[in-house]
C-alpha cells in the first residue's frame, strides 16, 4: 500500500492546478459561515422572544455576509462581472448554487437587519409608506434568513470538495460537518461578545455544541481520508493553522461551558472561537492550495485507488489501456 518508491513525476511539476483563490476566499469561508449561523440564532431568538439576541444576531448576520460578499467579489478575475454569477441556475456547479443561496440569505437578512436598525433609530430611516410593509415582512424575512443559514454554511464545503484537488476532494465525507460546526461556534462566539450573559444563553450553548462537533467532525474527516491526501492538513503553515484552530476551539468551547456566565470570560471565549473558526477556514483553504502544488498528492492516491480497483477485478475503467 506504500508505493512511495514507485512514485514518478514530470520534473516534480504539479499535475492539478490550485484555483486562484487567495485570502479573501478564506475570509469569505469564515464570514459566510458566521453570517449563516448568526442568521439562525436571530431566527431562533425571534421565535423565542429574545429581543436583544435577535437584534445583535441580525446585525451580525448582515455585517458578516456583506463583508463576505465583498471579499468574494474582490477575488474574481473580473470583479465588475460579479452579477454574471446569477446569469443561470446550474445545479452541477456548487458556485452557482452557492451564489443563489448567498443572494437569498443576503436579501432576507438585509430586510431583517434594516427593520432592526429602524427600530434602534426610533423610526428615523426615510422609509415612508414602506415602513408598514417592512414591519409586516420583518418576521418572515428573519425566519427565511434562518432557513437559508444551513445551506449557506454547508455549500462552501461542497464547493471545495467538488474539485480535482486531492485534499479537498478526499475530505468530502466530513468537510460539510466541519464547516457547519465551525460556523456554529463562530456565531455562538460572536453572540457571546455582543450580547449580555442573561440573554446570550442560546449563543453560549451553540458555541459549546459547535465546538464539540467541530472537534469530532475534524477527527472523523482526517480518519476518512487517504493518508497521503490528508498530509497537507498536518504540514507546513496550513498544518499549524489547523492545529491552533483545534486548540482554540477546545479552549473557547470549554471557557464558554464553564465560565460563559461571566461577561469577561464570555467575551474572551467569543474572541477565541471566532479566531479558531477563521483558522479552520484559512487552514483548509491553504492545505488544498499546497496539495495542488506537489504532484505526489495527486499521483500516489490515484495510483493506490487504481491498484485497489484492479485488485478487486475491476479492470475496465482505467484511463490508460493497452488498446
Amino acid at each position: 500500500m506504500v508505493p512511495e518508491a514507485e512514485f514518478t513525476s514530470y520534473y516534480d511539476r504539479p499535475i492539478v492546478k490550485p484555483p486562484p483563490w487567495e485570502n479573501p476566499i478564506g475570509a469569505y469561508l469564515f464570514l459566510g459561515g458566521l453570517a449563516a449561523a448568526s442568521g439562525m440564532l436571530a431566527a431562533g431568538a425571534e421565535l423565542t422572544g429574545n429581543a436583544r439576541l435577535r437584534r445583535n444576531s441580525r446585525l451580525s448576520a448582515l455585517g458578516a455576509v456583506g463583508l463576505g460578499a465583498v471579499a468574494l467579489v474582490i477575488d474574481l478575475g473580473r470583479p465588475e462581472r460579479f452579477l454574471y454569477m446569477l446569469r443561470t441556475v446550474k445545479l452541477s456547479s456548487p458556485m452557482s448554487v452557492g451564489s443563489w443561496i448567498l443572494s437569498g440569505f443576503s436579501a432576507f437578512a438585509g430586510v431583517a437587519a434594516v427593520a432592526e436598525v429602524d427600530r434602534m433609530t426610533a423610526q428615523k430611516l426615510p422609509l415612508g409608506p414602506l415602513r408598514r410593509l417592512l414591519q409586516w415582512v420583518e418576521t418572515p424575512a428573519g425566519v427565511a434568513a434562518g432557513l437559508f443559514g444551513p445551506p449557506l454554511a454547508a455549500y462552501t464545503a461542497v464547493l471545495l470538495s467538488d474539485t480535482a484537488n486531492p485534499t479537498w476532494n478526499d475530505a468530502r465525507e466530513y468537510l460539510p460537518m466541519v464547516f457547519v460546526s465551525s460556523a456554529s461556534l463562530a456565531a455562538g462566539g460572536l453572540g457571546m461578545i455582543t450580547t449580555p450573559v442573561d440573554d446570550a444563553g442560546p449563543a453560549r450553548a451553540l458555541a459549546v455544541i459547535g465546538s464539540a462537533c467541530d472537534l469530532a467532525a475534524t477527527e472523523l474527516m482526517e480518519q476518512s481520508m487517504d493518508p497521503v491526501a490528508a498530509e497537507p492538513l498536518h504540514e507546513g503553515t496550513p498544518g499549524k493553522l489547523l492545529q491552533w484552530s483545534k486548540r482554540l476551539v477546545a479552549a473557547g468551547g470549554l471557557a464558554a461551558l464553564l465560565g460563559g456566565r461571566n461577561r469577561t470570560i464570555a467575551a474572551l471565549s467569543g474572541v477565541t472561537l471566532l479566531t479558531a473558526s477563521a483558522l479552520t477556514r484559512f487552514g483548509i483553504l491553504h492545505a488544498g492550495i499546497h496539495a495542488a502544488k506537489d504532484p505526489r498528492y495527486t499521483v500516489v492516491p490515484q495510483k493506490n485507488r487504481l491498484a485497489k480497483r484492479r485488485a478487486e477485478g475491476i479492470v475496465d475503467d482505467s484511463i490508460t489501456t493497452a488498446d
Partner: protein, 320 residues
C-alpha cells in the same frame, strides 16, 4: 454531465496525439500561440528539464511539449508496465490481436527521449464545464469544451475542477471591447481576456470555418492528428496494436476508454510510459461524479446544524 452516447455522437472532433512519432520541434506550441494570439509565458530562463522550457499548460499555453530522458532501466520498467496492462485483459478486441503478437522483444536501447505534445483533453465529462457557475464554458457542436471569454467573470472554480490542470485564469492582458481585436502586422498584438479562464478551444474559430486546428495543421510528423473522434480512436487502437506487434509493449493509449473517470477524452494520446511520467494523472475522475453524494453529506450537515441550533435554544433558555 452529458450522457456517453451523446458525447460519442458522430461529429465529435478530437485529437489523436501519437507521441511515438513526436520529434519535439514545438511547432505546435508556436502555431497555437500565433493563431490564438496567446502571450509569451516565459521568463527566458532555462528550466533544467531537458528541452522543455515551456514547463506546463496554462492560460497562455495551450500546447506543451514534454521532454523526458530515460535510461535502460526505466525503459525496461515502462515495457514491463505496458505488458501488465496487456495482461489485465482490457475489454474489447483483445484476444485475437494478442495471439498475433510477436513476443520477441526488441533490444532495449540504452537511452530514449520521450516527447509528447500535451493539450486540453476535451473530456466527455468535463470537470471545468460542470462547475462553471456563469455558463461561460460550453460544449460546442464539435463535442469540445470552450470558454466564452466575454461571459467568464474569472471566479476560478474551473481551475480547481480540472483533473488535468489545464485551464487557468489569465493574469496579464487587456480588458477590451469586442470590436477592437485586430493588430498591426509586425507589432506585438495586445493580449486579450485578462482575468478570465483560458484554455485550448480546439481552434473553435477555425473549426466553424471548416479548417483544422493550428497545431495539427502545422505538425510536421503527423504526431498530432485531428479528425472525427471515432475515427481517431480507431486509428489509435490500430497504431498501438502495430507497436505491440513490434514488441514495443510500452505503448498504451490514454483517454480512449469511455468507462474511465472522465468518460474518455476528446484528445487521445498514445504514450510510451506511465501517464505520470508525462505529468498526466494516472486515474483522473471528474469531481462532479460524486456531487450527488456530496449533496447528501451537505444536507446531512445542514440538518445537523438545525438540530444544533434548536438544541442550543432549549438548553440556553433564559432562567428567570
Amino acid at each position: 454531465m452529458i450522457n456517453l452516447e451523446e458525447s460519442f455522437q458522430p461529429g465529435r472532433k478530437g485529437f489523436f496525439t501519437d507521441t511515438s512519432i513526436c520529434i519535439g520541434c514545438k511547432a505546435c506550441e508556436v502555431a497555437c500561440k500565433e493563431w490564438n494570439r496567446n502571450p509569451a509565458d516565459s521568463t527566458w530562463q532555462l528550466s533544467d528539464s531537458s528541452y522543455d522550457n515551456t514547463t506546463h499548460l496554462g492560460a497562455d499555453t495551450w500546447r506543451h511539449v514534454a521532454f523526458v530522458e530515460q535510461g535502460r532501466e526505466r525503459i525496461e520498467q515502462a515495457r514491463q508496465s505496458g505488458r501488465q496492462l496487456v495482461n489485465l485483459g482490457m475489454p474489447g478486441v483483445r484476444t485475437e490481436a494478442a495471439t498475433n503478437v510477436d513476443v520477441t522483444p526488441p533490444d532495449t536501447p540504452d537511452f530514449r527521449w520521450l516527447m509528447a505534445s500535451d493539450v486540453c483533453k476535451h473530456c466527455t465529462h468535463a470537470g471545468c464545464l460542470d462547475v462553471c457557475p456563469t455558463g461561460a464554458l460550453f460544449r460546442s457542436e464539435f463535442g469540445t469544451v470552450v470558454v466564452q471569454a466575454d461571459v467568464c467573470n474569472g471566479c476560478g472554480t474551473c481551475v480547481a475542477g480540472c483533473p488535468f490542470g489545464v485551464i487557468e485564469r489569465r493574469k496579464d492582458g487587456l480588458v477590451e471591447p469586442k470590436t477592437n481585436r485586430d493588430f498591426t502586422a509586425g507589432e506585438q498584438a495586445p493580449t486579450p481576456h485578462v482575468g478570465v479562464a483560458q484554455k485550448c478551444t480546439l481552434c473553435y474559430d477555425r473549426l466553424v470555418d471548416g479548417l483544422e486546428p493550428a497545431c495539427a495543421k502545422t505538425c510536421p510528423t503527423t504526431s498530432i492528428k485531428f479528425g472525427e473522434h471515432a475515427d481517431l480512436t480507431e486509428q489509435a487502437r490500430e497504431r498501438v496494436r502495430q507497436l505491440h506487434a513490434q514488441g514495443l509493449t510500452e505503448a498504451r493509449l490514454y483517454g480512449a476508454n469511455p468507462n474511465s473517470g472522465v468518460g474518455g477524452t476528446g484528445s487521445v494520446f498514445l504514450l510510451l510510459d506511465e501517464p505520470e511520467v508525462y505529468g498526466l494523472p494516472p486515474d483522473p475522475r471528474v469531481p462532479t461524479a460524486d456531487l450527488p453524494h456530496m449533496f447528501d453529506r451537505a444536507s446531512l450537515a445542514a440538518v445537523g446544524m438545525i438540530a444544533g441550533v434548536v438544541l442550543a435554544f432549549f438548553t440556553g433558555r433564559r432562567r428567570r
